[in-house]
């Protein structure tokens, strides 16, 4: 589904990401872990073209992704969330999702025409019901709680109906009840045939949902294995406890 080869990026003298290669299978949830500063988010930015790659290639569904601008990837089916939540506070929840849906209105002329809102609204209500946020439809996104905003950002990614979804710490700062909703949502996506790559520090949560785990340390690939094996692997423990 997604093949990365020799990915590397240097800031000044620092190798944020060095010869990082891995592959994730379709319809799998793959976790990406590593101590702080291992370069996980930088890797995300490099894969999704938010940051220009120094070296390395990215293959998505066997097709080489050129260094084009980030927005084009969404149309190809790759969508992501961010470490700090990036939703549109001044827009309503409905508008936040509408934006993600109408990506086929990209040529400017018919983006003036009004899309068939009620067809979209059904789908939005459906999505919101999954995370019981439906009563916030017309609420300004800025007024949502932290947890609710996190959910909204994930829903927005789902709304782009991308096949490959990259989540950057979806569970961070989310209370337990909300966490179960996030878990249900992620697993639901997998059933719908989506492929997910998830950066997360909440180990029990991640291990529970992942089919495979990739471990990164100071920009380099450490190992890629089943969750149980990775937990017991001495190299991983040493990386976390500070080698």
């Amino acid at each position: 589904m997604l093949k990365i080869q020799e990915l590397s990026k240097k800031f000044g003298g620092v190798h944020a990401v060095e010869k990082f290669s891995f592959e994730i299978k379709p319809n799998h949830i793959t976790g990406l872990i590593g101590p702080n500063g291992a370069g996980k988010t930088t890797a995300f930015n490099l894969i999704t073209n938010f940051l220009p790659r120094d070296k390395g290639e990215v293959f998505y569904k066997e097709e080489l992704i050129k260094k084009s601008s980030a927005y084009k990837l969404v149309k190809k089916g790759i969508a992501r969330t961010f470490q700090q939540i990036r939703i549109f506070p001044e827009l309503t929840v409905k508008e936040n999702l509408l934006l993600a849906m109408s990506h086929d209105y990209d040529n400017w002329w018919n983006s003036f025409g009004n899309i068939d809102e009620n067809l979209e609204e059904e789908r939005i209500m459906e999505l919101l019901k999954e995370v019981n946020l439906e009563k916030y439809l017309e609420e300004k996104a800025g007024n949502l709680s932290y947890g609710q905003s996190k959910l909204l950002e994930i829903l927005r990614v789902v709304a782009t109906n991308a096949d490959l979804i990259l989540l950057d710490e979806p569970a961070a700062g989310v209370n337990p009840t909300m966490l179960r909703i996030v878990e249900k949502l992620i697993l639901g996506l997998k059933e719908k045939g989506k492929t997910l790559l998830v950066i997360e520090h909440n180990m029990p949560f991640l291990m529970g949902i992942s089919d495979e785990i990739i471990v990164m340390e100071s920009g380099k690939f450490l190992c890629q294995d089943l969750p149980e094996k990775v937990q017991k692997d001495p190299k991983v423990l040493e990386a976390y406890l500070g080698g």
Binding site: N45, F50, L51, Q84
Partner: protein, 296 residues
Amino acid sequence: MSELVAQLIWNGLVTGALIALVALGLTLIYGIAGFIQFAHGEIVALGAYNFMVFHKLMGWEIIPAVGISVLIMIIIGLILERFFFRPVREKDPMIPLVISIGLSIGLQAIILIFFGPNILTISDKTHASISIFGDKILATPSQIIAIISAVILMIGLGVFLKKSKIGKYLRAVASNREVAQVFGMNIDNSMKWIFGIGAGMAALAGIFLGFEQNLEPLMGVHISVKAFSAVILGAVGSIRGAIIGAFLIGLTESLLVGMGVIPSGFTSAIPFVILIGMLLLRPEGLFGNRFESLRR
């Protein structure tokens, strides 16, 4: 020919020095407070007018008159920070920017009401120029003092920021204000420092500008607009960048027009042609880094 070039370079250095004095204040404020202070030009103008009042009207000697004018402007700089910029410091940086635009037109109106629209000169004595560097260059005493003091202040500021305790403190605040706050650093008095230093240098620039040209309510606008370009040219927040940007503008303007490359009618467009041209090549400025866009 070489005499012409030498004189042009000297003219460029003088203009560059004045722009640098203004740009340094702007860079400090932008680096730490996060917005371009549009009313900085009016502080330059008020500095010149203050000096004129003390020196020409009240007959003080030059040195005390400079001292008092710079002091008054530092106080005004602190007042502006305390009452106009502190209340909105945590808000989106566009708000203090628009407030500074409002302050700019307000202060211009106040200068107009107090000092009238007519053009005033800073002192009646016209100083004959003396030739220096083996009489290749003609310079007035005020120009020479302007360059010397500008260089001293630049080095002084550099040393102050690097070596002194407060300097390190300011640089820490500049790098990340939230983190600094977490460590209990007192943001308020670092703001006092930068607005005070910025206003003081701007007042000095105003006084030297007064010697170069006449005093008019809009004198501040013309030089601060060039200083904005210098600040951005050098990559905002970098002292070294602002100084080099200022001298780049001063010298280019002087040499391009002086050598007849550009018709003199286009002189006041040169700083911006350089700025926009440069922003296309290196959007993050001469010394900045590419990360600007991703930061929150």
